[in-house]
Protein backbone atom coordinates (compact mmCIF):
# COMPACT_ATOMS: atom_id res chain seq x y z
CA UNK A 1 0.00 0.00 0.00
CA UNK A 2 2.73 2.43 1.06
CA UNK A 3 4.86 1.52 -1.91
CA UNK A 4 2.16 2.15 -4.49
CA UNK A 5 1.53 5.49 -2.82
CA UNK A 6 5.15 6.46 -3.21
CA UNK A 7 5.16 5.23 -6.78
CA UNK A 8 2.10 7.34 -7.50
CA UNK A 9 3.72 10.37 -5.96
CA UNK A 10 6.82 9.92 -8.06
CA UNK A 11 4.69 9.45 -11.16
CA UNK A 12 2.74 12.61 -10.40
CA UNK A 13 5.93 14.57 -9.74
CA UNK A 14 7.38 13.42 -13.06
CA UNK A 15 4.25 14.42 -14.96
CA UNK A 16 4.27 17.87 -13.35
CA UNK A 17 7.97 18.41 -14.06
CA UNK A 18 7.52 17.33 -17.68
CA UNK A 19 4.59 19.71 -18.06
CA UNK A 20 6.49 22.61 -16.57
CA UNK A 21 9.56 21.97 -18.73
CA UNK A 22 7.25 21.70 -21.75
CA UNK A 23 5.74 25.08 -20.93
CA UNK A 24 9.19 26.56 -20.50
CA UNK A 25 10.29 25.26 -23.89
CA UNK A 26 7.12 26.56 -25.54
CA UNK A 27 7.78 29.87 -23.88
CA UNK A 28 11.20 30.03 -25.46
CA UNK A 29 10.60 28.73 -28.93
CA UNK A 30 7.10 29.81 -29.94
CA UNK A 31 6.05 33.16 -31.30
CA UNK A 32 3.96 35.53 -29.26
CA UNK A 33 0.70 34.65 -31.04
CA UNK A 34 1.06 30.95 -30.27
CA UNK A 35 2.07 31.68 -26.71
CA UNK A 36 -0.99 33.85 -26.30
CA UNK A 37 -3.25 31.00 -27.42
CA UNK A 38 -1.57 28.48 -25.13
CA UNK A 39 -1.81 30.93 -22.25
CA UNK A 40 -5.49 31.37 -22.97
CA UNK A 41 -6.13 27.63 -23.05
CA UNK A 42 -4.38 27.25 -19.70
CA UNK A 43 -6.63 29.96 -18.28
CA UNK A 44 -9.64 28.26 -19.78
CA UNK A 45 -8.64 25.02 -18.06
CA UNK A 46 -8.88 26.83 -14.71
CA UNK A 47 -12.19 28.42 -15.68
CA UNK A 48 -13.65 25.26 -17.17
CA UNK A 49 -12.81 23.25 -14.07
CA UNK A 50 -14.23 25.88 -11.76
CA UNK A 51 -17.49 25.82 -13.67
CA UNK A 52 -17.47 22.04 -13.84
CA UNK A 53 -17.14 21.92 -10.07
CA UNK A 54 -20.36 23.90 -9.70
CA UNK A 55 -22.35 22.68 -12.70
CA UNK A 56 -20.93 19.27 -13.46
CA UNK A 57 -19.99 17.80 -10.10
CA UNK A 58 -22.46 19.43 -7.77
CA UNK A 59 -25.25 19.65 -10.34
CA UNK A 60 -26.00 23.31 -9.69
CA UNK A 61 -27.08 25.03 -12.89
CA UNK A 62 -25.21 28.29 -12.40
CA UNK A 63 -24.61 30.85 -15.13
CA UNK A 64 -22.89 33.52 -13.06
CA UNK A 65 -19.33 32.77 -14.04
CA UNK A 66 -18.57 35.98 -15.92
CA UNK A 67 -19.50 37.98 -12.84
CA UNK A 68 -17.06 36.18 -10.58
CA UNK A 69 -14.38 36.39 -13.22
CA UNK A 70 -14.98 40.14 -13.45
CA UNK A 71 -14.50 40.49 -9.71
CA UNK A 72 -11.26 38.51 -9.84
CA UNK A 73 -10.04 40.40 -12.89
CA UNK A 74 -10.77 43.86 -11.49
CA UNK A 75 -9.29 43.06 -8.10
CA UNK A 76 -6.10 41.71 -9.62
CA UNK A 77 -5.87 44.61 -12.05
CA UNK A 78 -6.41 47.30 -9.42
CA UNK A 79 -3.83 45.74 -7.16
CA UNK A 80 -1.13 45.39 -9.80
CA UNK A 81 -1.44 48.57 -11.87
CA UNK A 82 1.28 50.95 -10.65
CA UNK A 83 0.02 54.15 -8.96
CA UNK A 84 1.18 56.52 -11.71
CA UNK A 85 -0.65 54.50 -14.37
CA UNK A 86 -3.76 54.55 -12.20
CA UNK A 87 -3.75 58.34 -12.37
CA UNK A 88 -3.59 58.13 -16.15
CA UNK A 89 -6.38 55.54 -16.22
CA UNK A 90 -8.77 57.48 -14.05
CA UNK A 91 -8.79 60.78 -15.95
CA UNK A 92 -12.60 61.12 -15.92
CA UNK A 93 -13.00 60.76 -12.20
CA UNK A 94 -10.09 60.17 -9.82
CA UNK A 95 -9.76 56.83 -8.13
CA UNK A 96 -10.74 56.52 -4.48
CA UNK A 97 -7.67 57.42 -2.36
CA UNK A 98 -7.73 54.06 -0.62
CA UNK A 99 -6.96 52.22 -3.86
CA UNK A 100 -4.69 54.82 -5.42
CA UNK A 101 -1.48 53.66 -3.82
CA UNK A 102 -2.42 50.09 -3.12
CA UNK A 103 -0.07 47.84 -4.97
CA UNK A 104 1.12 44.32 -4.43
CA UNK A 105 3.05 41.59 -6.21
CA UNK A 106 1.17 39.71 -8.90
CA UNK A 107 0.80 36.45 -6.97
CA UNK A 108 -0.74 38.14 -3.97
CA UNK A 109 -3.00 40.23 -6.17
CA UNK A 110 -4.15 37.10 -7.98
CA UNK A 111 -4.96 35.33 -4.72
CA UNK A 112 -6.77 38.46 -3.52
CA UNK A 113 -8.78 38.38 -6.74
CA UNK A 114 -9.73 34.79 -6.05
CA UNK A 115 -10.64 35.57 -2.46
CA UNK A 116 -12.79 38.53 -3.46
CA UNK A 117 -14.64 36.38 -5.98
CA UNK A 118 -15.04 33.70 -3.32
CA UNK A 119 -16.43 36.26 -0.89
CA UNK A 120 -18.99 37.39 -3.43
CA UNK A 121 -19.69 33.79 -4.35
CA UNK A 122 -20.41 33.10 -0.71
CA UNK A 123 -22.61 36.17 -0.28
CA UNK A 124 -24.53 35.51 -3.46
CA UNK A 125 -24.62 31.77 -2.96
CA UNK A 126 -26.14 31.94 0.50
CA UNK A 127 -29.52 33.27 -0.65
CA UNK A 128 -29.50 31.93 -4.20
CA UNK A 129 -28.58 28.31 -3.53
CA UNK A 130 -31.95 27.71 -1.94
CA UNK A 131 -33.19 27.70 -5.52
CA UNK A 132 -32.84 24.80 -7.90
CA UNK A 133 -32.51 24.17 -11.62
CA UNK A 134 -33.67 26.90 -13.98
CA UNK A 135 -34.44 29.31 -11.16
CA UNK A 136 -30.87 29.09 -9.96
CA UNK A 137 -29.64 29.68 -13.51
CA UNK A 138 -31.78 32.80 -13.86
CA UNK A 139 -30.76 34.16 -10.47
CA UNK A 140 -27.04 33.61 -11.01
CA UNK A 141 -27.25 35.04 -14.52
CA UNK A 142 -28.95 38.08 -13.02
CA UNK A 143 -26.25 38.47 -10.40
CA UNK A 144 -23.53 38.27 -12.97
CA UNK A 145 -25.22 41.09 -14.91
CA UNK A 146 -25.66 43.10 -11.72
CA UNK A 147 -21.96 42.82 -11.02
CA UNK A 148 -21.22 44.06 -14.53
CA UNK A 149 -23.60 47.00 -14.24
CA UNK A 150 -22.16 47.92 -10.85
CA UNK A 151 -18.69 47.86 -12.38
CA UNK A 152 -19.85 50.21 -15.14
CA UNK A 153 -21.30 52.66 -12.63
CA UNK A 154 -18.64 52.52 -9.94
CA UNK A 155 -16.53 55.04 -11.82
CA UNK A 156 -14.17 55.95 -8.98
CA UNK A 157 -13.28 52.33 -8.22
CA UNK A 158 -13.43 50.51 -11.54
CA UNK A 159 -13.11 53.38 -13.98
CA UNK A 160 -16.54 52.44 -15.33
CA UNK A 161 -17.03 51.79 -19.02
CA UNK A 162 -13.54 53.08 -19.82
CA UNK A 163 -12.04 49.95 -18.36
CA UNK A 164 -8.54 49.53 -16.99
CA UNK A 165 -5.49 49.73 -19.19
CA UNK A 166 -1.86 49.02 -18.61
CA UNK A 167 -2.19 46.00 -16.36
CA UNK A 168 1.43 44.87 -16.08
CA UNK A 169 1.97 41.69 -18.03
CA UNK A 170 4.21 39.09 -16.53
CA UNK A 171 7.00 38.30 -18.94
CA UNK A 172 9.70 35.71 -18.64
CA UNK A 173 12.45 38.31 -18.65
CA UNK A 174 14.85 36.29 -16.55
CA UNK A 175 14.73 33.06 -18.56
CA UNK A 176 14.64 34.90 -21.86
CA UNK A 177 17.85 36.69 -20.97
CA UNK A 178 19.61 33.44 -20.20
CA UNK A 179 18.63 31.96 -23.55
CA UNK A 180 19.01 35.27 -25.28
CA UNK A 181 15.51 35.44 -26.83
CA UNK A 182 12.81 38.09 -26.76
CA UNK A 183 10.82 38.04 -23.50
CA UNK A 184 7.27 36.72 -23.92
CA UNK A 185 4.23 36.39 -21.71
CA UNK A 186 5.28 33.98 -19.01
CA UNK A 187 3.28 30.80 -19.42
CA UNK A 188 4.31 29.47 -16.06
CA UNK A 189 1.79 31.47 -14.07
CA UNK A 190 -1.21 30.21 -15.98
CA UNK A 191 0.46 26.81 -16.23
CA UNK A 192 1.05 26.47 -12.52
CA UNK A 193 -2.49 27.72 -11.81
CA UNK A 194 -3.91 25.15 -14.21
CA UNK A 195 -1.83 22.33 -12.71
CA UNK A 196 -2.81 23.31 -9.18
CA UNK A 197 -6.46 23.51 -10.18
CA UNK A 198 -6.40 20.10 -11.85
CA UNK A 199 -4.63 18.61 -8.86
CA UNK A 200 -7.02 20.25 -6.44
CA UNK A 201 -10.02 19.01 -8.38
CA UNK A 202 -8.71 15.45 -8.56
CA UNK A 203 -8.01 15.48 -4.83
CA UNK A 204 -11.34 17.01 -3.95
CA UNK A 205 -13.39 14.70 -6.15
CA UNK A 206 -11.56 11.65 -4.94
CA UNK A 207 -12.20 12.51 -1.31
CA UNK A 208 -15.22 12.38 0.90
CA UNK A 209 -16.45 15.88 0.10
CA UNK A 210 -16.24 15.35 -3.64
CA UNK A 211 -18.27 12.18 -3.31
CA UNK A 212 -20.80 14.00 -1.18
CA UNK A 213 -21.09 16.69 -3.88
CA UNK A 214 -21.67 14.02 -6.50
CA UNK A 215 -24.28 12.47 -4.25
CA UNK A 216 -26.10 15.81 -4.17
CA UNK A 217 -26.02 15.87 -7.96
CA UNK A 218 -27.35 12.34 -8.18
CA UNK A 219 -30.23 12.59 -5.73
CA UNK A 220 -30.80 15.47 -3.34
CA UNK A 221 -33.47 13.71 -1.31
CA UNK A 222 -31.33 10.64 -0.74
CA UNK A 223 -28.27 12.77 -0.04
CA UNK A 224 -29.92 14.74 2.72
CA UNK A 225 -31.47 11.60 4.16
CA UNK A 226 -27.92 10.27 4.44
CA UNK A 227 -27.05 13.25 6.61
CA UNK A 228 -25.44 15.49 4.02
CA UNK A 229 -26.16 19.13 4.75
CA UNK A 230 -27.21 20.15 1.24
CA UNK A 231 -27.02 23.87 1.75
CA UNK A 232 -23.61 23.84 3.41
CA UNK A 233 -22.12 21.61 0.75
CA UNK A 234 -23.64 23.61 -2.09
CA UNK A 235 -22.30 26.86 -0.65
CA UNK A 236 -18.85 25.30 -0.20
CA UNK A 237 -18.79 24.10 -3.78
CA UNK A 238 -20.10 27.42 -5.08
CA UNK A 239 -17.57 29.41 -3.07
CA UNK A 240 -14.65 27.27 -4.17
CA UNK A 241 -15.87 27.48 -7.77
CA UNK A 242 -16.09 31.26 -7.49
CA UNK A 243 -12.60 31.40 -6.04
CA UNK A 244 -11.22 29.52 -9.03
CA UNK A 245 -13.28 31.67 -11.39
CA UNK A 246 -11.73 34.74 -9.73
CA UNK A 247 -8.26 33.30 -10.23
CA UNK A 248 -9.11 32.61 -13.88
CA UNK A 249 -10.41 36.16 -14.26
CA UNK A 250 -7.26 37.59 -12.72
CA UNK A 251 -5.05 35.56 -15.04
CA UNK A 252 -7.16 36.69 -17.98
CA UNK A 253 -6.82 40.34 -16.97
CA UNK A 254 -3.07 40.06 -16.72
CA UNK A 255 -2.70 38.19 -19.98
CA UNK A 256 -4.86 40.71 -21.87
CA UNK A 257 -3.40 43.81 -20.22
CA UNK A 258 -6.69 45.64 -20.69
CA UNK A 259 -10.11 44.91 -19.27
CA UNK A 260 -13.46 46.61 -19.53
CA UNK A 261 -17.01 45.64 -18.55
CA UNK A 262 -18.02 44.47 -22.04
CA UNK A 263 -15.56 41.61 -21.74
CA UNK A 264 -17.59 40.07 -18.93
CA UNK A 265 -20.88 39.70 -20.74
CA UNK A 266 -22.85 36.49 -20.84
CA UNK A 267 -20.92 35.36 -23.92
CA UNK A 268 -17.94 34.69 -21.69
CA UNK A 269 -19.98 32.40 -19.45
CA UNK A 270 -21.22 30.73 -22.60
CA UNK A 271 -17.67 30.05 -23.79
CA UNK A 272 -16.87 28.27 -20.56
CA UNK A 273 -20.16 26.41 -20.58
CA UNK A 274 -19.26 25.24 -24.08
CA UNK A 275 -16.01 23.81 -22.76
CA UNK A 276 -17.73 22.13 -19.82
CA UNK A 277 -20.46 20.53 -21.93
CA UNK A 278 -18.10 19.41 -24.68
CA UNK A 279 -15.66 17.98 -22.17
CA UNK A 280 -18.39 16.31 -20.21
CA UNK A 281 -20.25 17.40 -17.09
CA UNK A 282 -18.31 16.03 -14.19
CA UNK A 283 -15.20 15.05 -16.09
CA UNK A 284 -11.84 16.57 -15.20
CA UNK A 285 -9.94 15.02 -18.09
CA UNK A 286 -12.62 16.04 -20.53
CA UNK A 287 -12.62 19.65 -19.36
CA UNK A 288 -8.87 19.97 -19.71
CA UNK A 289 -9.00 18.49 -23.18
CA UNK A 290 -11.98 20.58 -24.25
CA UNK A 291 -10.42 23.78 -22.91
CA UNK A 292 -7.38 23.29 -25.11
CA UNK A 293 -9.31 22.19 -28.21
CA UNK A 294 -11.95 24.91 -27.98
CA UNK A 295 -9.43 27.70 -27.40
CA UNK A 296 -7.30 26.62 -30.31
CA UNK A 297 -10.35 26.12 -32.51
CA UNK A 298 -11.68 29.57 -31.62
CA UNK A 299 -8.49 31.02 -33.04
CA UNK A 300 -8.17 28.53 -35.85
CA UNK A 301 -11.68 29.24 -37.09
CA UNK A 302 -11.08 32.97 -37.19
CA UNK A 303 -11.04 32.78 -41.00
CA UNK A 304 -14.80 32.22 -40.85
CA UNK A 305 -15.26 35.82 -39.72
CA UNK A 306 -13.31 37.23 -42.62
CA UNK A 307 -14.41 37.50 -46.22
CA UNK A 308 -13.92 34.21 -47.97
CA UNK A 309 -13.17 33.41 -51.57
CA UNK A 310 -15.12 30.28 -52.41
CA UNK A 311 -14.04 30.30 -56.07
CA UNK A 312 -17.46 31.08 -57.49
CA UNK A 313 -18.30 33.85 -55.05
CA UNK A 314 -16.59 36.02 -52.52
CA UNK A 315 -18.50 36.28 -49.24
CA UNK A 316 -18.48 39.55 -47.34
CA UNK A 317 -16.80 39.52 -43.92
CA UNK A 318 -19.17 38.11 -41.35
CA UNK A 319 -17.94 38.91 -37.87
CA UNK A 320 -19.44 36.45 -35.43
CA UNK A 321 -19.85 33.53 -37.81
CA UNK A 322 -17.29 31.72 -35.70
CA UNK A 323 -19.59 31.84 -32.71
CA UNK A 324 -22.50 30.64 -34.82
CA UNK A 325 -20.44 27.61 -35.74
CA UNK A 326 -19.65 27.00 -32.10
CA UNK A 327 -23.28 27.30 -31.10
CA UNK A 328 -24.17 24.79 -33.79
CA UNK A 329 -21.51 22.41 -32.53
CA UNK A 330 -22.87 22.76 -29.00
CA UNK A 331 -26.40 22.04 -30.18
CA UNK A 332 -25.26 19.00 -32.17
CA UNK A 333 -23.33 17.65 -29.22
CA UNK A 334 -26.29 18.05 -26.90
CA UNK A 335 -28.70 16.46 -29.35
CA UNK A 336 -26.58 13.55 -30.49
CA UNK A 337 -24.11 12.82 -27.78
CA UNK A 338 -25.77 14.11 -24.63
CA UNK A 339 -22.42 15.20 -23.23
CA UNK A 340 -18.87 14.10 -22.87
CA UNK A 341 -18.20 13.92 -26.61
CA UNK A 342 -14.45 13.74 -26.27
CA UNK A 343 -14.34 11.01 -23.71
CA UNK A 344 -16.95 8.81 -25.36
CA UNK A 345 -15.17 9.14 -28.68
CA UNK A 346 -11.87 8.44 -26.99
CA UNK A 347 -13.12 5.29 -25.27
CA UNK A 348 -14.76 4.14 -28.49
CA UNK A 349 -11.60 4.59 -30.49
CA UNK A 350 -9.53 2.96 -27.79
CA UNK A 351 -12.03 0.14 -27.46
CA UNK A 352 -11.85 -0.57 -31.18
CA UNK A 353 -8.10 -0.96 -31.13
CA UNK A 354 -7.80 -2.58 -27.77
CA UNK A 355 -10.06 -5.49 -28.66
CA UNK A 356 -7.83 -7.45 -31.04
Amino acid sequence: MKKTNNKNLIKQAIIIVVLLVGLLLMNLFMDSYQIRIINLSLIYIVLGLSMNLINGFTGLFSLGHAGFMAIGAYTTALLTIPPDLKVVNFYMKPIVPFLADLNMPFVLALIMGGLMAALFGFLIGAPVLKLTDDYLAIATLGFSEIIRVVIINLQSVTNGALGLKGIPQIRNVFIAEIFNVKPQINLLWAGVSAIITVYLMIRLMDGSYGKALKAIREDEIAARSMGINLFKHKVMSFTLGSFLAGIGGGLLAVSLGTIDPTLFKFALTFNILLIVVLGGMGSIKGTVFAAIVVTIAMEGLRFLDQSMDLGFLVTPPLPGLRMVVFSLILMMVIIFKKDNIFLTTYTKVRGRYAKN
Binding site: K211, A212, E218, A222, G227
Partner: protein, 255 residues
Protein backbone atom coordinates in the same frame (compact mmCIF):
# COMPACT_ATOMS: atom_id res chain seq x y z
CA UNK B 1 -36.25 4.98 20.89
CA UNK B 2 -39.00 6.69 18.93
CA UNK B 3 -42.13 8.38 20.16
CA UNK B 4 -44.77 9.65 17.77
CA UNK B 5 -47.21 11.89 19.63
CA UNK B 6 -50.49 12.71 17.93
CA UNK B 7 -49.07 13.31 14.50
CA UNK B 8 -51.39 14.77 11.90
CA UNK B 9 -50.23 15.43 8.39
CA UNK B 10 -52.45 17.30 5.97
CA UNK B 11 -51.72 18.06 2.34
CA UNK B 12 -54.18 20.81 1.53
CA UNK B 13 -57.51 19.20 2.29
CA UNK B 14 -56.22 15.66 2.27
CA UNK B 15 -55.48 14.19 5.65
CA UNK B 16 -52.71 11.67 5.01
CA UNK B 17 -52.11 10.78 8.64
CA UNK B 18 -54.47 11.61 11.43
CA UNK B 19 -53.58 11.78 15.11
CA UNK B 20 -51.13 8.90 15.00
CA UNK B 21 -49.82 7.76 18.34
CA UNK B 22 -46.99 5.24 18.31
CA UNK B 23 -43.78 4.32 20.02
CA UNK B 24 -40.88 2.02 19.39
CA UNK B 25 -38.66 0.67 22.12
CA UNK B 26 -34.97 0.03 21.82
CA UNK B 27 -34.12 -3.23 20.08
CA UNK B 28 -37.58 -3.85 18.68
CA UNK B 29 -38.57 -4.66 15.14
CA UNK B 30 -41.83 -2.88 14.54
CA UNK B 31 -43.93 -3.17 11.42
CA UNK B 32 -46.20 -0.59 9.86
CA UNK B 33 -48.78 -2.06 7.53
CA UNK B 34 -51.93 -0.99 5.80
CA UNK B 35 -53.58 -0.99 2.40
CA UNK B 36 -52.22 1.19 -0.42
CA UNK B 37 -52.56 4.87 0.30
CA UNK B 38 -52.94 4.35 4.02
CA UNK B 39 -50.25 6.94 4.76
CA UNK B 40 -47.41 4.61 5.73
CA UNK B 41 -44.70 6.31 3.72
CA UNK B 42 -45.98 9.68 4.91
CA UNK B 43 -45.27 8.54 8.46
CA UNK B 44 -41.71 7.72 7.41
CA UNK B 45 -41.36 11.04 5.67
CA UNK B 46 -42.53 12.88 8.75
CA UNK B 47 -40.21 10.95 11.04
CA UNK B 48 -37.17 11.54 8.81
CA UNK B 49 -37.91 15.22 8.34
CA UNK B 50 -38.95 15.22 4.69
CA UNK B 51 -42.23 16.81 5.81
CA UNK B 52 -42.91 18.80 8.93
CA UNK B 53 -46.11 17.48 10.50
CA UNK B 54 -49.21 19.69 10.58
CA UNK B 55 -49.51 19.01 14.28
CA UNK B 56 -48.03 16.71 16.87
CA UNK B 57 -44.46 15.98 17.86
CA UNK B 58 -41.84 13.32 17.27
CA UNK B 59 -39.14 12.44 19.73
CA UNK B 60 -36.18 10.10 19.47
CA UNK B 61 -33.78 8.90 22.10
CA UNK B 62 -30.63 7.66 20.39
CA UNK B 63 -28.87 7.62 23.75
CA UNK B 64 -31.27 7.68 26.67
CA UNK B 65 -32.01 11.38 26.21
CA UNK B 66 -35.27 12.25 24.50
CA UNK B 67 -34.77 14.72 21.62
CA UNK B 68 -37.60 16.52 19.88
CA UNK B 69 -37.06 16.19 16.13
CA UNK B 70 -40.36 17.63 14.94
CA UNK B 71 -39.72 19.62 11.77
CA UNK B 72 -35.97 19.21 11.98
CA UNK B 73 -33.91 19.09 8.76
CA UNK B 74 -33.44 15.55 7.38
CA UNK B 75 -29.65 15.71 7.57
CA UNK B 76 -29.78 16.67 11.25
CA UNK B 77 -32.16 13.83 11.97
CA UNK B 78 -29.80 11.47 10.16
CA UNK B 79 -26.95 12.73 12.32
CA UNK B 80 -28.99 11.91 15.41
CA UNK B 81 -29.05 8.30 14.25
CA UNK B 82 -32.27 7.91 12.31
CA UNK B 83 -31.73 6.64 8.80
CA UNK B 84 -34.00 5.21 6.15
CA UNK B 85 -34.29 3.44 2.85
CA UNK B 86 -36.76 4.38 0.15
CA UNK B 87 -39.74 2.60 -1.31
CA UNK B 88 -38.68 3.44 -4.86
CA UNK B 89 -34.94 2.87 -4.38
CA UNK B 90 -32.97 6.10 -4.36
CA UNK B 91 -29.37 5.15 -4.89
CA UNK B 92 -26.72 7.46 -6.31
CA UNK B 93 -27.19 5.69 -9.62
CA UNK B 94 -24.21 6.88 -11.62
CA UNK B 95 -21.71 6.35 -8.83
CA UNK B 96 -19.87 3.10 -8.12
CA UNK B 97 -21.39 0.74 -5.57
CA UNK B 98 -18.59 1.36 -3.08
CA UNK B 99 -19.01 5.14 -3.28
CA UNK B 100 -22.69 4.78 -2.44
CA UNK B 101 -21.79 3.18 0.86
CA UNK B 102 -18.83 5.50 1.38
CA UNK B 103 -21.11 8.54 1.14
CA UNK B 104 -23.18 7.09 3.94
CA UNK B 105 -20.12 7.61 6.18
CA UNK B 106 -19.69 11.22 5.19
CA UNK B 107 -21.89 12.71 7.89
CA UNK B 108 -19.58 11.40 10.62
CA UNK B 109 -16.51 13.01 9.04
CA UNK B 110 -15.08 15.68 11.30
CA UNK B 111 -12.46 17.15 9.00
CA UNK B 112 -13.33 20.05 6.72
CA UNK B 113 -13.20 20.38 2.97
CA UNK B 114 -9.76 21.97 2.98
CA UNK B 115 -8.18 19.16 4.94
CA UNK B 116 -9.70 16.71 2.48
CA UNK B 117 -7.89 18.53 -0.33
CA UNK B 118 -4.62 18.90 1.52
CA UNK B 119 -4.96 15.34 2.87
CA UNK B 120 -4.02 16.04 6.45
CA UNK B 121 -2.99 12.94 8.40
CA UNK B 122 -6.21 12.98 10.43
CA UNK B 123 -8.27 13.15 7.23
CA UNK B 124 -6.30 10.31 5.63
CA UNK B 125 -6.92 8.24 8.74
CA UNK B 126 -10.65 8.98 8.75
CA UNK B 127 -10.91 8.21 5.07
CA UNK B 128 -9.13 4.92 5.52
CA UNK B 129 -11.55 3.97 8.27
CA UNK B 130 -14.47 4.99 6.07
CA UNK B 131 -13.24 2.85 3.20
CA UNK B 132 -12.67 -0.11 5.49
CA UNK B 133 -16.10 0.24 6.99
CA UNK B 134 -17.71 0.53 3.55
CA UNK B 135 -15.91 -2.57 2.38
CA UNK B 136 -16.96 -4.45 5.47
CA UNK B 137 -20.58 -3.46 4.91
CA UNK B 138 -20.36 -4.41 1.26
CA UNK B 139 -19.08 -7.82 2.22
CA UNK B 140 -21.91 -8.08 4.70
CA UNK B 141 -24.52 -7.50 2.00
CA UNK B 142 -22.65 -9.64 -0.49
CA UNK B 143 -21.72 -6.88 -2.89
CA UNK B 144 -18.00 -6.65 -2.29
CA UNK B 145 -17.13 -8.24 -5.61
CA UNK B 146 -19.37 -5.77 -7.41
CA UNK B 147 -18.03 -2.69 -5.63
CA UNK B 148 -16.64 -1.07 -8.79
CA UNK B 149 -19.87 -1.44 -10.77
CA UNK B 150 -22.21 1.48 -11.23
CA UNK B 151 -25.11 1.29 -8.80
CA UNK B 152 -27.80 1.32 -11.52
CA UNK B 153 -26.34 -1.77 -13.17
CA UNK B 154 -27.17 -3.97 -10.17
CA UNK B 155 -30.27 -6.16 -10.21
CA UNK B 156 -33.21 -5.02 -8.13
CA UNK B 157 -32.65 -7.18 -5.07
CA UNK B 158 -29.02 -6.16 -4.80
CA UNK B 159 -29.94 -2.50 -5.14
CA UNK B 160 -32.18 -2.90 -2.09
CA UNK B 161 -29.34 -4.51 -0.16
CA UNK B 162 -27.01 -1.73 -1.23
CA UNK B 163 -29.49 0.85 0.02
CA UNK B 164 -29.60 -0.88 3.39
CA UNK B 165 -25.80 -0.99 3.51
CA UNK B 166 -25.67 2.72 2.72
CA UNK B 167 -28.13 3.45 5.50
CA UNK B 168 -26.16 1.38 8.02
CA UNK B 169 -23.01 3.29 7.05
CA UNK B 170 -24.50 6.37 8.70
CA UNK B 171 -24.32 4.59 12.08
CA UNK B 172 -28.03 4.69 12.79
CA UNK B 173 -29.69 3.67 16.00
CA UNK B 174 -33.09 3.55 14.38
CA UNK B 175 -33.37 2.19 10.86
CA UNK B 176 -36.51 2.76 8.83
CA UNK B 177 -37.03 0.33 5.98
CA UNK B 178 -39.64 1.28 3.42
CA UNK B 179 -40.84 -1.94 1.77
CA UNK B 180 -37.51 -3.76 1.79
CA UNK B 181 -39.01 -6.87 0.20
CA UNK B 182 -40.87 -5.14 -2.63
CA UNK B 183 -40.38 -6.98 -5.88
CA UNK B 184 -38.48 -9.88 -4.35
CA UNK B 185 -39.23 -13.53 -5.00
CA UNK B 186 -39.99 -15.91 -2.10
CA UNK B 187 -36.40 -17.08 -1.75
CA UNK B 188 -35.02 -13.54 -1.74
CA UNK B 189 -37.69 -12.56 0.77
CA UNK B 190 -36.63 -15.37 3.06
CA UNK B 191 -33.00 -14.31 2.80
CA UNK B 192 -33.98 -10.75 3.52
CA UNK B 193 -35.71 -11.72 6.75
CA UNK B 194 -32.59 -13.46 7.98
CA UNK B 195 -30.53 -10.52 6.85
CA UNK B 196 -32.65 -7.98 8.74
CA UNK B 197 -32.35 -9.99 11.95
CA UNK B 198 -28.64 -10.31 11.43
CA UNK B 199 -27.96 -6.61 10.95
CA UNK B 200 -30.23 -5.77 13.85
CA UNK B 201 -28.12 -7.87 16.18
CA UNK B 202 -24.76 -6.93 14.75
CA UNK B 203 -25.26 -3.18 14.59
CA UNK B 204 -27.51 -2.96 17.61
CA UNK B 205 -30.37 -1.47 15.62
CA UNK B 206 -33.98 -0.75 16.27
CA UNK B 207 -35.99 -1.34 13.13
CA UNK B 208 -39.20 0.23 11.91
CA UNK B 209 -40.42 -1.23 8.64
CA UNK B 210 -43.19 -0.86 6.14
CA UNK B 211 -43.99 -4.02 4.28
CA UNK B 212 -46.66 -5.61 2.14
CA UNK B 213 -45.32 -9.15 2.31
CA UNK B 214 -47.26 -10.50 5.28
CA UNK B 215 -44.75 -13.30 5.54
CA UNK B 216 -42.03 -10.81 6.40
CA UNK B 217 -44.15 -8.73 8.73
CA UNK B 218 -45.56 -11.67 10.62
CA UNK B 219 -42.19 -13.44 10.61
CA UNK B 220 -39.90 -10.83 12.09
CA UNK B 221 -41.91 -8.06 13.71
CA UNK B 222 -42.31 -7.89 17.48
CA UNK B 223 -45.20 -5.50 17.16
CA UNK B 224 -47.27 -4.16 14.33
CA UNK B 225 -49.17 -0.94 13.72
CA UNK B 226 -51.94 -0.98 11.15
CA UNK B 227 -52.94 2.19 9.34
CA UNK B 228 -56.00 2.67 7.16
CA UNK B 229 -56.78 5.99 5.52
CA UNK B 230 -54.32 7.67 7.84
CA UNK B 231 -55.96 6.36 10.98
CA UNK B 232 -54.41 3.83 13.31
CA UNK B 233 -56.85 0.94 13.41
CA UNK B 234 -54.91 -1.69 15.29
CA UNK B 235 -51.75 -2.30 17.22
CA UNK B 236 -50.32 -5.46 18.70
CA UNK B 237 -48.28 -8.57 18.15
CA UNK B 238 -48.50 -10.45 14.84
CA UNK B 239 -50.96 -13.00 16.22
CA UNK B 240 -53.42 -10.36 17.43
CA UNK B 241 -53.18 -8.43 14.21
CA UNK B 242 -53.89 -11.49 12.10
CA UNK B 243 -57.09 -12.06 14.01
CA UNK B 244 -58.15 -8.45 14.33
CA UNK B 245 -61.48 -7.89 12.60
CA UNK B 246 -60.81 -4.28 11.73
CA UNK B 247 -57.59 -5.25 9.99
CA UNK B 248 -59.24 -7.97 7.98
CA UNK B 249 -61.97 -5.56 7.07
CA UNK B 250 -59.48 -2.91 5.93
CA UNK B 251 -57.62 -5.38 3.77
CA UNK B 252 -60.44 -7.44 2.39
CA UNK B 253 -63.49 -5.21 2.81
CA UNK B 254 -66.82 -6.32 4.36
CA UNK B 255 -69.56 -8.35 2.81
Amino acid sequence: MLKINNITMKFGGVVAVSELQAHIDKGEIVGLIGPNGAGKTTVFNVVTGVYAPTSGTIQVSPDDKLVDITGMRPDKIAKLGVCRTFQNIRLFKDLPVEDNVFIGNHLRLKEGMLSSIIRTPSYVKSEKEMVEKSHYLLEKVGLYELRKEKAFSLPYGQQRRLEIARAIATDPKLLLLDEPAAGMNPQETKDLMGFIREIKDEFDLTIFLIEHHMEVVMGICDRIYVLDHGVLIAEGNPYDIQNNEKVIEAYLGVE
